[in-house]
Symmetry: C2
Subunit: 382 residues, 2 copies
């Protein structure tokens, strides 16, 4: 199998290294033929090129592995690769979650496949586990700590009593968080992963904009003080729950009890749990990012293609997000707390309420109408 690699950064260089090292008999079947790089200084190997067409138009290349990140030109290159009848493996959750309707249709038309284990859960074999479980079971629900950067920030704020901005700065210094941290701290990164998980778990294509998403940008030290004083930890959780004809889907901070299995997830790890009809609950923990763990997932997908082990036999159809049945108690801190008076169970701090048990759709609608840019909301585990 001849592979064309788009991108030679953190993930791409890991893929190149694993395949070049030829450590197992499966990997010995793979060859990286060409590598697309951006800058002159990256042209360190005769396989490097700065022209994507050298890969996309090469009839010898069977599989294109896209590890560039960003929407464009990644999206255009992937579309062209599929149109040329090449299988695609991508680690790019943002691009895939944004364009998967179009890309899955093109792949289908050209008899090839799109694989994305590395795009959701990094090194965790989460997508592969879903594929396997689905052979026997429907997936009733899933939830996960899908983002290491926010887990790092929340853990350190919790244990060291630090401020959000200080911890974000440190995460950026360590290279965990991007210079524009919005995708991480506003929950968009987790939203992409919830959308892709629902594709595998429930065969549905959700509208990204319909997934209720609250991040941790406005979390304060005192919110974590409340957690600590009341036997909770705070985690940013992405969730999906299969309903009759729709899917409940959301991303939001949750105050979890200390004996929740998710409570002790280490700093830079991800954990994802799902529930199958006969399997019951199963959980998967691993490194959600990093060069080699993510590259490992890309190489696994390449081997899946080589072995023709694509079990995505069910069509993926658009489905509505419906959070009317997702009931919860919410911790809401806002200067406009008086506007929540009719759903307030009690005040737990200045401007801070615990709601009665209400649906997430109602909570989200109320928050939209209140229009307080500094509002912080978290669901409180019962």
């Amino acid at each position: 199998m001849k592979i064309g690699l788009l991108g030679h950064g953190v993930v791409g260089s890991g893929v190149r290294k694993i395949i070049d090292d030829q450590k197992t008999i499966e990997v010995q079947e793979l060859v990286v033929k060409r590598i697309l790089v951006k800058d002159d200084w990256e042209m360190t190997d005769e396989r490097m090129t700065q022209n994507a067409d050298d890969i996309l138009n090469d009839p010898e290349i069977d599989i294109v592995a896209e590890c560039m990140g960003g929407l464009e030109p990644a999206h255009t290159f992937v579309r062209k690769a599929l149109e040329q009848g090449k299988h695609v493996v991508t680690s790019n959750k943002k691009m895939l979650a944004t364009y998967c309707r179009e890309l899955f249709a093109i792949a289908n038309e050209h008899g090839v496949t799109v694989h994305y284990e590395a795009a959701c859960g990094g090194g965790i074999p989460w997508m592969a586990a879903l594929d396997r479980i689905r052979r026997v079971d429907d997936i009733m629900n899933f939830r996960g700590i899908f983002n290491g950067t926010t887990n790092y920030i929340l853990e350190r704020m919790y244990h060291e009593g630090k401020d959000f901005s200080e911890m974000l700065g440190e995460a950026q210094k360590l290279g965990y968080a991007e210079r524009d941290p919005s995708d991480d701290i506003d929950g968009f990164d987790v939203k992409y992963k919830v959308m892709l998980s629902a594709v595998k778990a429930n065969d549905v294509l959700l509208n990204l904009d319909d997934i209720t998403t609250f991040g941790i940008r406005h979390i304060l030290k005192k919110d974590l003080d409340y957690c600590r004083d009341n036997g909770y930890v705070c985690k940013l959780i992405g969730r999906g729950v299969r309903q009759e004809d729709s899917v409940s889907a959301c991303v939001m901070p949750m105050f979890l009890k200390l004996d929740d299995m998710f409570a002790s997830t280490p700093l830079n790890f991800n954990v994802i749990e799902c529930e199958g009809a006969t399997l019951g609950k199963a959980a998967f923990t691993g490194q959600g990012a990093g060069s080699l763990p993510t590259a490992h997932a890309v190489v696994q997908n390449i081997i899946d293609i080589w072995k023709n082990q694509d079990s995505e036999i069910n069509p993926k159809l658009p489905a509505a997000v419906d959070n009317r049945d997702l009931m919860g108690v919410y911790y809401i801190r806002t200067k406009k707390s008086a506007l929540f008076a009719d759903i307030t169970d009690r005040y737990v701090g200045e401007d801070t309420i615990l709601t009665e048990k209400i649906s997430l759709s109602e909570a989200a609608l109320r928050i939209k109408n209140v229009d307080d840019p500094d509002l912080f909301i978290a669901e409180v585990a019962e």
Copy 2:
């Protein structure tokens, strides 16, 4: 694919139910043709038979699923099935760990395979995960809470300050523990699973008798008091560590720190962790027992055979167990503690020492020579 089912107890009846229910298109390819039962009252279905030859000699049956438990006649039936050119799926860890050298050789000779996902980790897709990870990585080490019964006993002793014998009695009353609880509480059940994990993880066939095994039969309330007072929890852990030409392998109670991911494993769950060269650490949590989760694993293996997805391409060769490089600090409680004087770091209770950091092979040898039937040993996490 036509399946013959040996046994219709907890696991076997679950397999029958999942296949009869025909919920997914993969399962719709499977048919349970005959079911071996023991007693007259079990003959509730025209597929039932009390004569194993009706299954073993039926040329239409492609796969024999053995869910009987026990060494005999399960072992003889499995051997005969393989000799008849039938693939075998088994949930019987004791039988397989005891006879796998013989059975793998017979399977190989007749061009068929033996699958055993349900024998190790029940519903957890642990064997499948190892198969997948091994396509890219060597496995450097694994460790797991492989036994729900002992986890149940230890958790309740720890949180409720109960005695061992009381909790064992309760586990037996709930059907978690057998009337003869030795396999669980003496660590043999975990030993079988460590042996089978090493087959998948390292392609080695270890001698069961060589795996250092200490159970929890002699644990006292005061041992758990020590844990609680010093920030530990106690778990029965099975482990394997790949060495140059051998494997370190053991089963023993461990005092783990509270922030260890294993510390918050719920009552009846199993958790298993492994480390791959490029994947890094990954962990898998799920129900280690129970009718449907274990049956789910059997059905998954049947689908593996149908899809011809057997990735066990490496030969399994005998290898020595060598625990000389497995260093640890040990908590040892024995009336003969004076005999450990030269390796004692300090006393932490009456007759109870913490050792200096020594090898497990030395600790095991000393304990054997001391010959105190009531001795309790646990490794203390650093």
